[in-house]
Symmetry: C2
Subunit: 132 residues, 2 copies
Amino acid sequence: MNIGFASSRSGLPKKTIRYYEEIDLVNPSRAANGYRDYSEDDIHCLNFIHRARNLGFSIEECRLLLSLYQDKNRSSSEVKSLALSKISSIEEKIAELQNMKDMLNKLARTCHGNDKPDCPILDEIAGARLNP
Amino acid sequence: MNIGFASSRSGLPKKTIRYYEEIDLVNPSRAANGYRDYSEDDIHCLNFIHRARNLGFSIEECRLLLSLYQDKNRSSSEVKSLALSKISSIEEKIAELQNMKDMLNKLARTCHGNDKPDCPILDEIAGARLNP
DNA sequence: CCTTGACCTTCCAGTAACTGGAGGCTTTAT
DNA sequence: ATAAAGCCTCCAGTTACTGGAAGGTCAAGG
C-alpha cells in the first residue's frame, strides 16, 4: 500500500513516515513506479513507533524498543528498565515545570495588570529577587 | 568588559552570548582590537534574559519582555498576560507528561522484568490496548 | 625579544524530530 | 485529453544553542 494509505492507517503524517525511512527506522519496499509500498508489518512498526513516541520515547529509544520487540530472545527486564528510566526523566521534567509555574504564579499574583508601566514581574526578572 | 567576564557575570556560556548577538538580542560595542566589549547595561540585559529563560520564556518572548522592560510607557497588563499564558502552556505540558508517566507506570507494573522474553510493555505498545 | 598559554575572533556543522515548499513524475477520474 | 490528486526527491527552516577548526591578540616569564 502506498504512503497515503500508510499515513491514515498509522496516524502519522506522510512527511514523518518518509523521515522514518530516511533515518532507517521503517524501510518499505518500492513498487515498479518507484512509489513506497508498505506491508502490513511496516504498518505495524509505524503504529508501534507512533505509540512509543506518544509515551515520550525518543527516536533512538524507539529504535531500541523496536529491535527488542523483534528480538525473540530479549529479556523483559531490559524493556522494563528503559521504561523506568523514562519515568524518572519525565518526573524530573515535571518537577522543573512545576517550579517555573510556581515562580510565574508568584510573580503574576503581585502584578496589578493595569495600564500603568509599574510591573513587579519585570522588576523581579530584572533583579532576580524571586526568593530573597 | 570582554566576553569571558560577561559570561561569568551573567552565568551564560560564551557561545550563548555570541549567539544572542547574532540574533540581535544583546549587541555589545567593540573594542579597538575587535573584541566584544560589554557595558553594565549589556550585563543587565544578559542577566534579565538568563532569568526569563529559566522561567520558561522562549527567546522571542524574552525579546518582547526586554522591549517591554525598556519601554517606559508599557502597561503592566501586557506583561501579566504573557506570564499567565506561559503559566497555562506550562500546565498543559505538565498534564501531558503526567499522562505519559501514568501510562508508563501502568505498563511497568505489569512487567516482571526478568530474563524471559515475555514482555507486557512491548505487547501493549504493539497492540495499543492501554485503556481497553 | 620570544614563547607559551589563555584569551578572543569568525565560520561551518551538528543536534532532535520533523515540517514546508519547489519542481516534476504518475495515476485516476471525467 | 486534461485536470486533480498523489507520489517522488531535494533543499531549507525550525529552536536554542554547542562543538570545533583556523587564526588573531594579549600578558607573563625567561
